[in-house]
Symmetry: C2
C-alpha cells in the first residue's frame, strides 16, 4: 500500500535527531504526542526512540510525562567550540565591560542569516532585552548582527538584503538600500549602532571581533536604555575588549591545532 508518502524516509539516526530538533524556545517541554506530531513520526516510533534518548541522557522525562533536553546532552554541548573556546576566552572581558557599564553585554556569532547569541551578561539594573543564550535574532535589527554583516562578504550581504527584512519597531531598517548604506557607514566607522530598531527604548553599540584566522566570526555588543546618549563613549572599551578576545583566539588556535609544523 505505497507507504512511501513523499519524504525519502529519514534514517534512524536522523529520526533520533529530529526528536531533539522538535524542541525550541517556545516548546522546551513536549509530551509524547506533541513530539510525534512535531516530528511527523508514528507514535510508537517516537516512544521507542525517546526512551533510548532518555536512557542515554539526551532527553529527560519528568513525572508528568513531559520530555525536555537532558543533562548529558547539555554537558556534551559545553564542548562545542563556540561554547568552550570562544565563550571561555570572551567571558572575563565581557565581565569587565559589564562592571564598567552594568548593561547587557552580548556575544554573538554569525550563523546562516542570523546572529546566534552565544553569551549574554545582564544584571538587575540592565534594560530587559529579547535576547537569550542560544537565541537567533536577525542581523539587520541588532547591534551584533550589523557588526557581523558589515564585515561579511558582498555576496552574502546581497543575498541577505534580497530577502524581506522583518520589522520589529517603526525604526527597524527594512529597505534594502538603506541597510546597504548603513552597513557601509558601519564598516567605515568600525562599529555598529542601533536605535530602537529591535525594541523600543533600547539602543546598542557593537563591534566585530577581529580574526585573521578563518575562525567563526563573532561580535561583541552592549545594549542600553535609549535615554543614554553617550553610546559612543563605550566604543573604546568595547573595541579594546574585542581586540583582546581576537588576539587570544588566534593564539589559542595556534596552540589547539596539531600545529602548523
Amino acid at each position: 500500500m505505497a507507504v512511501n508518502s513523499d519524504v525519502p524516509r529519514r534514517s534512524t539516526a536522523g529520526r533520533a535527531l529530529s526528536l531533539l530538533g522538535a524542541f525550541d524556545a517556545t516548546h522546551p517541554r513536549l509530551k509524547l504526542t506533541e513530539l510525534a506530531r512535531r516530528t511527523d513520526l508514528p507514535l510508537p516510533t517516537v516512544h521507542r526512540l525517546a526512551a533510548e534518548l532518555v536512557s542515554w541522557g539526551a532527553l529527560e522525562r519528568d513525572a508528568t510525562g513531559h520530555y525536555s533536553i537532558g543533562l548529558r546532552l547539555w554537558e556534551a554541548a559545553t564542548l562545542a567550540p563556540v561554547a568552550g573556546r570562544l565563550r571561555e576566552i570572551a567571558l572575563p572581558f565581557m565581565q569587565d565591560l559589564y562592571e564598567t557599564t552594568r548593561e547587557n553585554v552580548h556575544l554573538a556569532v554569525h550563523d546562516g542569516f542570523d546572529a546566534l547569541y552565544v553569551e549574554k551578561l545582564s544584571g538587575h539594573r540592565s534594560v530587559p532585552v529579547v535576547s537569550r543564550i542560544g537565541a537567533r535574532l536577525p542581523m539587520h535589527s541588532t547591534g551584533v548582527g550589523k557588526a557581523l554583516l558589515a564585515r561579511a562578504d558582498a555576496a552574502f550581504v546581497r543575498s541577505y538584503a534580497e530577502r524581506p527584512l522583518p520589522r520589529f519597531t517603526r525604526y527597524t531598517i527594512t529597505e534594502r538600500a538603506r541597510l546597504l548604506r548603513e552597513l557601509r557607514a558601519t564598516a567605515e566607522r568600525g562599529y555598529a549602532l542601533t536605535n530602537e530598531e529591535m525594541t523600543l527604548g533600547s539602543c546598542s553599540v557593537a563591534v566585530a571581533i577581529p580574526s585573521d584566522s578563518h575562525a567563526p566570526a563573532g561580535a561583541l555588543g552592549i545594549v542600553v536604555r535609549s535615554v543614554r546618549t553617550d553610546l559612543h563613549r563605550l566604543v573604546p572599551d568595547l573595541r579594546a575588549a574585542a581586540e583582546a578576545i581576537g588576539r587570544k583566539l588566534d593564539e589559542a588556535v595556534d596552540g589547539t591545532q596539531p600545529g602548523r609544523a
Copy 2:
C-alpha cells in the same frame, strides 16, 4: 568468529549517541579513527553515522578532518532546564555577587556523585580555578559539592562516603568519618566552607539553593584566594542570593507550563 564480544550490541540511536559521548573536556576534537577507537565501533559505521550527525549539525568537521560538537546541538542544549530556567534565573543574582566580590561565582547542580558546574563567572582579578562550565568535580572537595551533599539524604551520603575519596591537596578530606562530621557541621551552620581542599591557595563558601519543589538541587558558591580571611562576611549576601533564586525557581515552576494565554 563469535562477533558478539560482550556488549549486547547498541541500537543505531545508541551508537549515534556514543559518538557524542566520545567527546570530553580533554578530547573536544576527534579524528575519524579516534572516534572509532573511543566508541569501539567499526570505522565505516562511524564514518556513516558521523556524516549524518554533521549534516544535521550535531557535529562539525573542520578542514583538517577533525570532528567537534556542532552548533545546532549546542543550540538545542540551551533549551535544557538546567541551562535555560535555572541559569537564566540565577545569572543576575550571580552577577550581583560578582560585582560585590570580584571573585569566582559558581552555580552547580547535584548529578550522580558529582557537582556539575552549570555556570561560572570570573573576571581577570579572580583567582584561577579548575572549574569550567560543564565540568564535574567531586562533592567532598568543593564548596558547592559540600553544600549539596549536606542536604542530600542519608542513604546517598553513606554510599558517597563508602567510595574512596580522591585527594587533591594535603587538605582534602579523605576520611569517611571526618567527611560525615564536616557535613553535619555544614548542615548546622547552613553553609559550606572549604580551605585549600581542591586547590592550594583557594578557599570557598557555598550555600544550597532552597527549593520546596522537587526541582534539581542546586548550590551557589564563591571561590577566593585563601589569604582572604573574611569568608564568613560573604555568607549573608550569598544566602540572600540563593534564597531569591529559590523563590523565583518555585514561582517559575508554576508559571512554566503552556503559558499565560
